[in-house]
């Protein structure tokens, strides 16, 4: 009985049979050695390939469901209906239209991001599609990251459509448009949705039901958007230890309201300094990474069924 070949990349391959065709044993040993030779190269390349492949499936899913189209059509119809209104015989008002259109875009963005992301991993587990996927050389981390990038990119594509519509409407009414400001609001909104997608993914691993995850994430997101900026003001009015608790929350939560620059666009107040804009994107990337890291850690030990 031949001893098992040494499992190092430099180990010689076992000899083939006299006929020149590899025996099953020889074939297995060849495979094992080849495995190690390619292991390093495959590991580097396959992570991003896996993430890309999984993200592609998520994007396909979003655009084959009706949610996005329904939301877009609703937004467009409401905006166009309101745009046809005249107040006191004056049809030059545009800011109210921009505000309502942006509000609808924000609502649609939140709905798309949260509902799409909340069902990703639970659906994989419930439908058992996670098993054939993880039976491939795909790790759980690849799955989480792939879902994140898929949902985030899908949100980005949706936002592109929404903001294009918004840009057309405001350009037609205002006879002017500000590409810098529109680019900033789009990118900031997209990165905000990145934080929310990451938060929802983490929630989908913590909470069993997508509905509870969606509700909690939506409440947290809306709560931060409305109150996040004012927590420090609130803390000043409280006594210890409540003050310390509120301050801790203030400095810990991701300040989603930073990415809400609708008022700047509505009132044509120009662009944010580009360095500040970069800082905001970096802030979003950092928080997204924290949530994703936590999601990957929690998912490592999670039972799949």
């Amino acid at each position: 009985m031949n001893s098992a070949p040494s499992l190092t990349p430099s180990a010689p391959l076992p000899p083939e049979t006299k006929t020149g065709t590899p025996t099953p044993a020889g074939r297995a040993s060849t495979l094992i050695a080849a495995q190690f030779e390619t292991q390093a190269a495959v590991r580097q390349g396959s992570a991003w390939t896996n993430i890309q492949a999984i993200a592609g499936v998520v994007i396909k899913e979003l655009y084959r469901r009706k949610d996005f189209y329904v939301l877009f059509i609703l937004t467009a119809l409401i905006t166009l209906a309101l745009g046809s209104a005249r107040f006191f015989g004056e049809d030059g008002s545009v800011r109210y239209l921009k505000e309502i259109c942006l509000l609808l875009i924000w609502i649609a963005g939140l709905v798309i991001a949260i509902t799409t992301t909340a069902r990703q991993i639970p659906a994989e587990r419930e439908n058992r599609t996670i098993f054939p996927l993880l039976a491939k050389p795909v790790t759980r981390q690849h799955l989480v990251l792939g879902k994140f990038f898929g949902c985030w990119l899908a949100c980005g594509l949706a936002l592109l459509v929404f903001y294009f519509f918004f840009g057309v409407i405001s350009a037609v009414r205002e006879h002017d448009w500000s590409p810098g400001a529109y680019f900033q609001i789009l990118t900031l909104h997209w990165f905000l949705l990145g934080i929310i997608v990451a938060m929802t993914l983490l929630g989908s691993i913590v909470f069993a039901a997508p509905s509870s995850n969606s509700t909690i994430t939506l409440l947290v997101a809306v709560g931060i958007l409305l109150l996040g900026r004012h927590l420090n003001t609130l803390a000043l009015q409280l006594a210890a230890p409540a003050q310390q608790i509120v301050y801790a929350i203030y400095f810990t939560i991701p300040h989603l309201e930073l990415f809400d620059v609708r008022d700047l666009v509505i009132h044509n107040l120009g662009t944010i300094p580009w360095l500040i804009w970069c800082g905001a994107l970096g802030y979003a990337a950092a928080y997204s990474a924290i949530f994703l890291g936590a999601a990957c850690l929690l998912f490592r030990r999670k039972a799949l069924n």
């Binding site: 006191f88 015989g89 109210y96 900031l188 900026r229 420090n232 309201e257 930073l258 809400d260 107040l269």
Partner: protein
């Protein structure tokens, strides 16, 4: 047996329900809170909560006037809390106090966040951030400060919506009318809107004051302006409201005094100036005006 019991129970419950409905229906028809009596869709749908929405949209119009720079319920602001669109409310000092509600940044996050929302005081129609506001004795902005760009039209949709939701807010009609006639040149629409406000708020002296201004400033119909302002004054005196609403009263008597002065009715002008002197904080300038009118009266026609 079981099915019979279920059917009997259901019949009993149905009978009780119908009896209750028959008993309550006449009472409901006469109930003051019966929204179904209203022809207004919003009244039926929202009930009294429409007033909350009306207030919200009125505040939104004010926020639009300030290009988004507006305090929230968490920010410090003057106790008066008056909206100062069209300077129909606060004087200069109050306006300046009310504008610096943000204060210094409390921490690095606060400082960073100020780049992402309007954090400088500006009005619609103004280019740069104004240092001071120039206001006349009656609280109006000087003509020099009017932007004249027509941007003030942006507040109109919210004022229209606020008026639809709560027709019983006179200030909505007054403010909208001011911008329509003074900045947008829509005098007819302004008058129409004020008359709509009068239908919902019969005899409201503030609306009559603004209506009088249309006749005085825009239509140059001084007799009609006088009639409307005198009616406003009578209604104000007969009104049961508290005396806190000093500013509109001061504007009313001030306008009447100015009108009579220009129409050479010096006796009447002096009467109104006396009333103005009692309530105005600018007693020196009022006294100077009184002296000028007295001098003109002495000079004769």
């Amino acid at each position: 047996m079981q099915i019979r019991e279920y059917l009997l129970t259901l019949s009993l419950l149905g009978t009780i329900c119908f009896s209750l409905a028959t008993y309550l229906e006449p009472w409901f028809q006469h109930w003051a809170g019966n929204r179904a009596q209203s022809a207004n869709v919003l009244t039926v749908a929202l009930g009294d909560s429409r007033r909350l929405f009306a207030k919200h949209f009125y505040v939104k119009a004010d926020a639009y006037f300030h290009s988004g720079y507006y305090p929230t319920i968490f920010d410090n602001r003057p106790a008066s809390g008056q909206m100062h669109m069209a300077a129909a409310g606060a004087g200069q000092k109050q306006h300046e106090e009310g504008t610096d509600f943000l204060g210094q940044p409390k921490d690095w996050l606060d400082a960073f966040s100020r780049h992402f929302f309007p954090s400088k005081h500006r009005h619609l129609g103004e280019g740069a951030v104004p240092e001071h506001h120039h206001e006349g004795a009656d609280g109006h902005h000087d003509d020099d400060d009017k932007g004249g760009s027509g941007e003030e039209r942006e507040v109109l949709p919210w004022l229209r919506l606020s008026a639809n939701l709560d027709p019983e807010r006179p200030e909505t009609y007054i403010i909208a009318s001011y911008w329509l006639r003074s900045q947008l040149g829509k005098v007819n629409e302004a008058e129409q809107f004020l008359r709509e406000g009068l239908r919902s708020n019969p005899g409201n002296y503030e609306i009559l004051l603004e209506l009088g201004r249309i006749y005085y400033e825009n239509r140059k119909d001084f007799d009609r302006a006088r009639n409307v302002w005198e009616l406003a004054l009578r209604n104000r005196r007969e009104s049961a409201k508290p005396e806190a609403e000093i500013l509109p009263y001061a504007q009313l008597v001030g306008n009447l005094a100015k009108l009579e002065d220009e129409q050479h009715n010096y006796a009447k002008a002096l009467e109104y100036l006396d009333l103005l002197y009692q309530v105005s904080p600018h007693k020196d300038s009022i006294q100077k005006w009184i002296d000028e009118v007295k001098a003109k009266k002495l000079q004769g026609p």
